[in-house]
């Protein structure tokens, strides 16, 4: 089962867990991204996430489909939040269940690494004295 979502509302860890939970699963790995309060020593006031939603959903689904082809996993949830997020809030949750933990860990790691490379979502860090689109400039 693949469950992909982009949401303006806070993401729920319990919901993601419940969706991947399965009586045939032996291990579940969950990655939760969180908003850090500083970048290179500068205090972050908040973050803004923007998505090219139709394409982002499609790229997220591709990641999940690739995973199901590559590794013996049962269920994958990839939920990403957009809008304004404060320190401690959750931009992304990825959950993977598998019969054995090796596949769950490997797939979850692959999912977040690939998401960060290929999914059209952008993060703007807002500081007290300015703002910057992360990774935009060299």
């Amino acid at each position: 089962m693949i469950d992909i979502k982009i949401d303006t509302e806070p993401l729920s860890l319990q919901t993601c867990f419940d969706k991947v939970m399965s009586p045939v699963a032996g291990g579940i790995d969950v990655f939760i991204g969180t908003v850090r309060n500083s970048t290179k020593g500068k205090k972050v006031v908040h973050l803004e996430f923007e998505a090219y939603e139709t394409m982002a959903l499609q790229e997220m689904r591709k990641i999940a489909e690739n995973i199901i082809e590559k590794w013996p996993v049962h269920h994958i949830v990839i939920h990403h939040r957009v809008g304004v997020l404060k320190t401690g809030e959750i931009p992304v949750i990825i959950a993977v269940s598998a019969a054995h933990r090796d596949a769950a860990f490997t797939a979850c790691r692959y999912a977040i690494d690939t998401l960060k490379q290929s999914v059209p979502i952008w993060k703007k860090e807002v500081f007290e004295d300015g703002e910057v689109w992360v990774a935009a400039h060299p």
Binding site: G33, L115, S118, W122, W133, V134, A135, A136
Partner: protein, 80 residues
């Protein structure tokens, strides 16, 4: 032909809006469109990189564009 191009993230600020419209005399390739965009918006060249997407897929330089295509400027992504 008329091409409407969506812009996201820093590209939205560079082109001055969520989308821009280009009038063209011929059907361009992605590479040609990219050149035109860079002439009109030189700040695109200052980006770490950017790609163009056509109909929700990353495009190759030699892809040819069509009138109704949904085109988007994809600056370096930073989700997660």
């Amino acid at each position: 032909m008329t091409l409407r191009i969506l812009a996201f993230g820093v590209a939205k600020e560079i082109v001055g809006g969520r989308s821009v419209t280009l009038e063209l005399n011929e059907t361009p390739t992605i590479a040609a469109l990219s050149d035109m965009l860079q002439i009109r918006y030189p700040q695109l060249k200052a980006l770490a990189s950017y790609r163009l997407a056509v109909n929700n897929e990353f495009a190759s330089a030699t892809d040819v564009l069509h009138e109704k295509d949904e085109i988007a400027i994809i600056p370096p992504v930073s989700g997660g």
